[in-house]
Symmetry: C2
Subunit: 115 residues, 2 copies
DNA sequence: CAAACATATTCCGATATAGGAATATGTTTG
DNA sequence: CAAACATATTCCTATATCGGAATATGTTTG
């Protein structure tokens, strides 16, 4: 046997630092490939390939608009990670307070935003 | 250039499924290598090697007791992941409620547990 | 100390990438 | 339709693992 694919689930997909950087941008707003290239300053094929991986594991979705392709993050797909991380939360006493106030704030605003 | 090490930070370390399985066991209780081997049924060197990676990125710590080595999870080391995941939490309207009640429950009990 | 035990390490081979370079595909516009 | 534009894909190479097998290291016990 040998290595396993780092491209087949959400956990391994975010193991790659460049992919995390792309996600960090896309979570801010939907963006075209060239917009991303302008920001991160990597060769376009590099960006496209990483987007391909993210797309394969459904972390991002793509929408065509003319000759552009607009990418956006699909936050729901991160839930497996969040759920897996949940097993450690009980050890984070101090951060719970922050999170709690954050939640209160969000919920005061009206729970969820439109799609 | 080529692949980058999947063994140098927390994100890539948990990208490997077997390592997640080990973590899931160790979070339950401190355990020796052979205890883990008994549970997961992989060859001992495989277990040891994955533990080595987890140890290198500080996700687990090791403590010697006689000829045994007892491993345990270091939950604090997962905080970078949790913090990174935080950027998506606002999209999880429905799960916020669960989490909120979870927090309320925890806090009612007395906020933090001893180390 | 020798044997048994617990675990780590080394050496090995197979393979899945990551990135570079070049090119292909698809779209708009003149 | 040709040229320009936007993006994906293919081909290539180097390399970092993953797991297997064998062995080394360290500890306890008789």
């Amino acid at each position: 046997m040998a290595r396993l694919k780092t491209t087949h689930d959400v956990f391994s997909a975010i193991g790659e630092p460049k992919r995390r950087i792309l996600i960090e941008q896309l979570v801010l707003k939907e963006m075209s490939v060239n917009e991303l290239v302008d920001i991160v300053q990597w060769p376009q094929p590099v960006v496209s390939k990483h987007l391909g991986v993210l797309r394969k594991v459904r972390i991002v979705s793509e929408r065509r608009q003319g000759r552009h392709r607009l990418y956006r993050v699909q936050p729901d797909e991160f839930r497996p990670i969040q759920e897996w991380m949940h097993q450690f939360e009980k050890y984070w006493g101090s951060s719970l307070d922050q999170l709690d106030s954050y939640l209160t704030e969000i919920q005061a605003r009206g729970k969820n935003e439109p799609d």
